[in-house]
Amino acid sequence: MIRLERRTSQPRWLSVAVPVGSLIVAFAIMAVVLLASGHDPWSTYRKLVEAGFTGNGALSATLISATPILFTGLAAAVAFRMELFNIGAEGQLYLGAVGGAWIALQLGDRDAGSTAVYVVAMCVAAAVTGALWALIPGVLRAFANTNEIITSLMLNYVAGYLLTYLIFSSSSYWRDTSTLQARAFPQGKPMPPAAEWPTFGSSVVLPLGFVVGLGVAVVLWVLYARTRFGFEVSVIADSPRAARYAGMRTRRKILAVMALSGAVAGLGGASQIGDFTHTLDGSPQGLQAAAFGYTGIVVAALARYNPFAVCLVAVLLGGLLNAGFTLQGVDFPSGLVGVMQGIILFCALGGELLIRYRIRFPRRTRVTTDGEATPEAV
């Protein structure tokens, strides 16, 4: 019989050892899955590391994959920290892309500005649209006490259809209608060249979006660890009743945190457009199929909602995504990456137990009805 005892103190080394251990266990389980489906785990893992990190140009590609999930991971972490389960980062990212694209096209129409102006304007517009979209479930939660998990998730589908509508079913501002071909095969208007975000480095290419994400992570860390706002969030997360008792304004915090979370996810949308696609991608097989929002939840949970850890995990999972994309084929069937993410997350969740509880194997003796005592093997 195993017994769990709540730890009275949590040693520091555990918060490193447990996630690393979980990762090892996850890859061991994954190896079993691979073996069972007729793949050689060792060579799969070797290819994975090569395609994700060590190969030629692999790291640059990994950073491209890591950028959007860095934003959605931070977005999830920000909200989940207050036990506010915003799983709408997916839709908030789309809306950020819509807002970012709109301002870039507007500026382009007016022939205005340098790249710096574009970057700032796109970030602001995307953050605002993302935040507004996130405020829908936020307001409903704060004023009608409606479950934000379901509302934010439902809005992902709505945002997806909105995106498709803008490019495929309407002659919207975002759609390219300049040529006959563009009218037959719907696509978004191309951004002006000045709206393309710069990159850094040569051997490893670092997109500006990733740098912005790192900056956001630092700001969020300061906000949560060093400010009154962060203190209030931690109290509300732990005990809403205690927060109310202490005179904290819970409703305002819900709105603020949802808006913040949506804004961060929205920035991810701006970065998609500015860094990579340079047009609003409305196709269900494009932005919508990437599921950055959902992967962000995995990132945030693995990072235990710590903004700095999110940066690290985003790169790791970005490597996995990138490798999965590069290797896709017979040896590396699609879906494998999702399975791996799921297993890693399960192991991390199970590992939480070891951080919170101590596992004991108490010795015990079983007394039979004759009163004879037999020690039971443990």
């Binding site: 009154r228 931690s234 109290v235 007394v367």
Partner: protein, 500 residues
């Protein structure tokens, strides 16, 4: 039970405890809070497993691995915190988990069960409508349901953990009658209490526990309150004596409450037109059976609950209703009934909890926290109020009940309040902690803090209060000056009898 030992992380709750109870006997387990009575009974009912020792029932050794084993063996228990399912009916609660009827009992036959419950109730004087839902019942009626649950299963041993804590004195007397009747039928009743007089009134024999060990078993007929008390505490004690006469108090009103009406959780008024006031430095006790509006009154005064009607004035200024922040800035401190969860954020550090109300004033620079000053403030509270914690960064939930209460009290006093609303300040604390908490309250009152003390412990109310008001169904049923109130008078009002 022989040689029972039970350890929890960091504590030995039972250390080689032994006692035996005969059929047809009311056997009391007497001990202070924290003496290990509840742990012992949880072992006897299969909720916990002992680390060492054995249990014999009717001469045969038994080993309970789950509550089901204990129930099947005929051991029933009335827990201090009732184990009832609030949305269920009485009958549903009574049959819950009953599996003796095998496949024939698959379908729930409501009528038959209701009839059986009604019969049992009549036989033992435990009248309660089998079709009422638990949340509609008073606390006393809920306790009857708990006893009916055991009787329905033909329990031969019934354990009651502090059953009188939630009853008015007159209700307690009725309960004693039921227990004696059960013993008269040959059942064994184990009565757990820390109250000497009750134990003497109901028990045949008394086993005294202290600090997790058995001290002695004595016959109630040969024992006196004094002899039991010295066994229980390990030294001679003076019984808590009520304040003999009123202290001289300044004629300054700190808190004035007028015609306050507050809705309860289930709709309907929980507090009806309460009017009273508290002078500077005065302690006003609120007596009442649980669920008569005490909690709602405390919550309304501290802003946690919006009042429907009436006004509250603090030092002459009207208080905005339903706004905890307004109450805090008006100088109302609050020690809530639920320390861990409302009074404290359990997973946050002692430091964070120490400044949970003060971080807005003085402990921040603009939007940023002044972490150094927060820590200093926390350390000052820890030192001054003797909060025993391994580290200031330890999560609050790891502290013992007494230290949690000291932390809450210390934090509230540091805010230099004018009014303190304190609910059940010593519930679940051990003797030493109770004395400390009482000393802190007296000290605060001597500094001029007006205190509203809500408690279900009449001895505590009488020991601390200058005045006692009795709440019955949300109304103030009566008011007594210190010294003029007898337990019987207060009890009569608590039970709904109109007094003078």
């Amino acid at each position: 039970m022989r040689g029972i030992t039970k350890r929890f992380p960091g504590v030995v709750a039972n250390d080689d405890v032994s006692f035996e109870a005969a059929s047809g006997e009311v056997h009391a387990l007497l001990g202070e809070n924290g003496a290990g009575k509840t742990t012992l009974s949880n072992i006897l009912t299969g909720l916990y497993r002992q680390d060492e020792g054995e249990i014999e029932l009717h001469g045969r050794p038994v080993r309970f691995t789950s509550p089901r084993d204990a129930l099947d063996a005929g051991v029933g228990m009335v827990h201090q915190h009732f184990r009832l399912v609030a949305p269920f009916t009485v009958a549903e609660n009574v049959v819950l988990g009953d599996h003796r009827h095998g496949h024939r009992g698959f379908v729930l036959r409501g009528r038959a069960i209701e009839r059986r419950v009604a019969e049992l109730g009549e036989k033992y004087g435990l009248g309660v409508d089998p079709r009422s839902r638990i949340w509609q019942l008073s606390v006393g009626e809920q306790q009857r349901v708990e006893i009916l649950k055991a009787l329905y299963r033909d329990a031969t041993i019934l354990i009651l953990d502090e059953p009188t804590a939630v009853l008015a004195p007159q209700e307690a007397v009725a309960l004693f009658g039921t227990l004696r009747a059960m013993a008269g039928e040959g059942k064994t009743v184990i009565f757990i209490s820390h109250k000497l007089k009750e134990v003497l009134a109901v028990a045949d024999r008394v086993t005294v526990l202290r600090a997790g060990r058995t001290i002695d078993t004595v016959a109630a007929s040969t024992a006196t309150a004094r002899s039991l008390a010295s066994l229980m505490v390990g030294r001679e004690i003076d019984e808590a004596r009520p304040l003999e006469q009123s202290r001289p108090l300044p004629d300054v009103l700190s808190l004035e409450v007028e015609e306050l009406t507050v809705a309860g959780d289930r709709g309907g008024a929980a507090v009806r037109g309460a009017t009273f006031s508290i002078r500077e430095g005065e302690i006003v006790g609120v007596a009442g059976v649980a669920g008569n509006g005490q909690r709602e009154l405390a919550e309304a005064l501290t802003g946690l609950r919006r009042a429907d009607r009436g006004t509250v004035r603090v030092c002459g200024k009207v208080l905005r209703s339903g706004d905890p922040r307004a109450a805090i800035s008006a100088g109302i401190a609050h020690v809530p009934e639920d320390r861990l969860g409302t009074g404290l954020a359990p997973s946050l550090s002692v430091t964070s909890n120490a400044v949970i109300k003060r971080y807005r004033r003085g402990l921040s620079r603009g939007p940023f926290l002044a972490l150094g000053r927060m820590r200093e403030t926390a350390l000052a509270i820890i030192r001054r109020y003797d909060v025993k914690t391994p580290e200031p960064s330890t999560p609050a939930r790891n502290l013992s009940g007494g230290n949690l209460q000291k932390l809450v009290l210390g934090r509230e006093f540091e805010g230099e309040p004018r009014v303190l609303v304190v609910a059940q300040p010593t519930r679940g604390l051990d003797v030493g902690a109770i004395e400390t908490v009482h000393a802190y309250l007296r000290e605060a009152s001597s500094r001029g803090v007006a205190i509203l003390l809500v408690s279900e412990d009449l001895d505590e109310l009488r020991a601390l209060s200058d005045r006692i008001v009795v709440l019955y169904e949300g109304e103030i049923a009566g008011e007594f000056e210190a010294g003029e109130a007898t337990i019987e008078e207060i009890g009569l009002l608590m039970a709904g009898g109109r007094g003078s």
